[in-house]
Symmetry: none
Subunit: 227 residues, 4 copies
C-alpha cells in the first residue's frame, strides 16, 4: 500500500528559489491531495513533504502537527467558498428552474471541478474520526449550502413554478447529485461504472432538466395516479 518510490519530490520544483510565504499554501495543497487520495491515517508526513518539494522537517516548521495540518487543510478549502456561490438570487429575473441550473453549474465551476471538492470525500471518509472537523464542515458548508437551495426551491414554489413538494426532499435531491459528482472524481470506480467517460457538465444539464420537469407544475398528468 505504501509506495516508497513515489516519494521523489516533484521534479520541476526548483529548490532554493521558492519564497517562504508560498510554502504553507504548497504544503496545504500537497496535503489536501494526499489526504483525499489515501485518507488521513494512511498519509505520511514525509509524503506530504516530498510532494511539496521540501524535506520532512520543513513541514513541522509551518504546521506543529499532523492534526493541525489536517485542520488547516480543511479550513482553507472550506472558508469563504460559498460566498463565491451565494448571493445573487434576489435580483435574478429568470425562472427558478433556470436559477437552479445556473446554481448547479456554478457549483461545479467554482467548487466541484476544483481540488476543494476533495473535502467532501474527506468528510465522508474521516468525519467520524474528527468530529470537530465534521462539525465545522457541517456548519460552514452543509448548512449554508442547503439554505441556499432551500430558498431556491421555495422561491419556485412561491412563484407557482414548482409543485408544493417537500422542500427538504427536493434539496436532498440536488445535494445528492453534487455529492455524487464530487465523490466520483476522487473515488473512481467506487460510485459509478465509468466516471472517466462521464461529462459532468452534461450530466448536470441532464439533471437540471430532470428536476425542472419533475418539479414542474403538471398541466395534466392523468397517468400519474400511482401510489
Amino acid at each position: 500500500m505504501t509506495s516508497a518510490h513515489l516519494l521523489e519530490r516533484t521534479a520541476h520544483a526548483p529548490r532554493r528559489e521558492r519564497r517562504k510565504d508560498e510554502r504553507p499554501a504548497e504544503l496545504l495543497d500537497a496535503a489536501l491531495a494526499l489526504f483525499v487520495e489515501k485518507g488521513y491515517a494512511a498519509t505520511r508526513m514525509e509524503e506530504v513533504a516530498a510532494r511539496a518539494g521540501v524535506s520532512k522537517g520543513t513541514v513541522f516548521l509551518y504546521f506543529p502537527s499532523k492534526l493541525e495540518l489536517f485542520k488547516q487543510v480543511v479550513r482553507r478549502n472550506i472558508s469563504g467558498r460559498l460566498g463565491l456561490w451565494d448571493g445573487r438570487f434576489a435580483d435574478f429575473a429568470g425562472s427558478s428552474a433556470e436559477l437552479l441550473r445556473l446554481t448547479m453549474l456554478l457549483w461545479w465551476e467554482r467548487i466541484g471541478s476544483t481540488p476543494a471538492s476533495g473535502i467532501s470525500k474527506l468528510m465522508v471518509s474521516e468525519g467520524q474520526n474528527f468530529p470537530e472537523m465534521a462539525e465545522f464542515f457541517h456548519h460552514e458548508v452543509i448548512v449554508p449550502g442547503q439554505l441556499i437551495l432551500h430558498r431556491l426551491i421555495e422561491r419556485g414554489i412561491e412563484r407557482g413554478e414548482f409543485r408544493p413538494v417537500c422542500v427538504e426532499h427536493a434539496v436532498q435531491g440536488v445535494v445528492s447529485v453534487m455529492v455524487f459528482l464530487a465523490l466520483s472524481r476522487h473515488s473512481p470506480n467506487a460510485c459509478t461504472q465509468n466516471f472517466m467517460t462521464l461529462d459532468p457538465v452534461a450530466y448536470l444539464h441532464h439533471h437540471a432538466d430532470l428536476i425542472a420537469r419533475g418539479l414542474a407544475v403538471a398541466p395534466a398528468q392523468p397517468k400519474e395516479s400511482l401510489r
Copy 2:
C-alpha cells in the same frame, strides 16, 4: 483519536468461550463496522477483537492478517447481494416508473438499510488504497447494478413511457440517490444537513416521483424551451 478506554469487550461476554463456528462471522461483523466507521488504517486489530468480545490473538486465529480480514469483510458483504435484487423484471406487468420505484425500495430494504451498505463508504474511502478490492467491487456490484438500471430505463423508453433521454445520465441519477443514502447513514453530517431526521423511504418515494415525472413523455411543456 485512539480511545484506549473503549477497548473493553462487550460487557456480557464471558471469557474463554469456545465458539469456533460463530467467530468468523462475529469478527467480520465487528471489522465491517469499524472499517466503515474509522477507515482501514485507523482501525486497530485489538479494537476489532474487543468489539467481537475476544482477545487480540483470537482474530489471528481466523484471519492471517489485517489485509486478509479486510478482503474477507468486503467479499462477504458483496458476493451475491445483487442476486436478491435482480430478477423479476421480465414478468413485471406495471409501468416502468413503478418498476423503478420498487427497485429502489427493494434496494433499500435488502442492502441500503443493512450493514452491507457500509461497503459503499469503504470503497469511497479506501478504494484508492486497495485497487484490487475496488476492482472487485466494481465488477461485482457497480457493473451488474448499473446493468439492471440500464435495462430498466431502456424498457421505459422502448415502451414509450419515458422520453428518449441519455440512458447513462438517467442511470447515474438513480445511482446517485442510492450512493447518497448509503453514505449518509455512515457519514452523518458529511452529506446532508440532518440525515437523522430524514426518512429514507419517504425520500426514495419522493425521488421515484421526481424521476417518474421528469422522465415522463411530456404532453405539452410550452415553458420548457430552455437550452
Copy 3:
C-alpha cells in the same frame, strides 16, 4: 523460515493406540530433532507436538514449559552415555594407538552416529543462552570425556609408545575430530565441503592413523628440524 505445511503429524502414528508411558520419550525425541535442526527459539511447541503425533496441549501435560522440555532433552541425551564408552582401558592389552582407534570408533558407534550427537550442536548453538545446561554438559560430558582421552594419551607416553607431547593439546586434537564429525552431521555445508560423501568411519581410521604416526616415537626424523 517456518514451514506450516510440515506440521501434519507423522502419518504412520496410530492415534489412540499409543501407551501413555511412551509419550515422554516420543516427545523428547521429537524435541531433540527440532531443537538441533532449528535451534531452541526457532522451534515451536506445536511443531514438537505435531512431530510426536499429538496435539499442542498434550506437550504441556508431560512438560510444564518449553524450558523444562529443553532441559530434559539435554539431560536424557547426556546422562550415562559415557558409561557405555568408558571402562575397559585397564585391561586392554594392545597398543595405545590401537586403543585410541577403538575408542574413536566406539564413540562413533555409540554416540556420534546416533541422534544424541545433536546435543553437541545444541551446546554450540545454545550454550550461551542456557549457562546451566552448558555447565551440566561440561560437567557430564566434556570433563569425563577428556579425562578418558587424557588417561589414554598418558598411557601411551608412559609406555613409551607416544612422544612426550603436551597431553592437553593431544586431547584437543582427538576431540576436535569428534566435534567436527558430530557437527557436520547436523550442519551440512557449514563445516566441510561435502559431508554427504564423506565416510565417517573411514575418516576416523584416517585420523587414527595420522595420530598414531604423529604421536609415535620417531625413530629418526632428520627433516623435521623445523621450528
Copy 4:
C-alpha cells in the same frame, strides 16, 4: 533468558549523535556479536540497537528488516576474507609441512582470532534455518578454503614429502582443527574442557607438528602394521 535490564546503551555514548557513515558498520558489528552469541531468533533488534548505542528505530534506518541485517552481517564478514589468506603458495620455497603450518597460523591471525570467526558458529547454528546463507557461505568460504588446502596437500604428495594419503581426509583433518578453534572461542564449555586456558597458537603448532609427522613419508615404521 531475555535480559531487559541489559539494554542500556554503552554508557559513554551521547544521545542523538549524528554519524551516518559509521552507523552501518557499528550496527553490523553489534549484530554479529549478538547473533553469534545468542542466535538469530533469540537476538532482539532492540538489543542490537542498544549495543550499537542507538535506539530501536535507528536500526531500521539502515537495514530494512532483521533478515536483511542478518544477511549483511554474513556477507560483510565473509566477502574477500579468503583473499587475505590465499595467494602466495606458488612461490613458496620451503617444505609443504612448513607451508601448512604457516597457512594455519595465517588463518588464525586473519580470521580465526577476529570477530569474523563467529560466522562459522553462525553457520553451524543457523545454516538450516537460512539455506540461502548457508549456500553462500559454502560457496564463498568452504569451497575455496578447501581448495587451497587440497592443493597444499597435493603439493606435499607430489613433492614426495607426504605419504599418498586420501587427500580429502587430510583436508578434513586440517579443517576440523580450524572449525574447532573458531567454535571454541564462541561456545566456551561446549567443545572443550578449558578453552580459556588453551593457547590457540600453541595448539596450532602442536597440530602442525602432528600433521607433519603423521603425513611424513615414514622411513621405517615396523610397528605400524595395523590395518
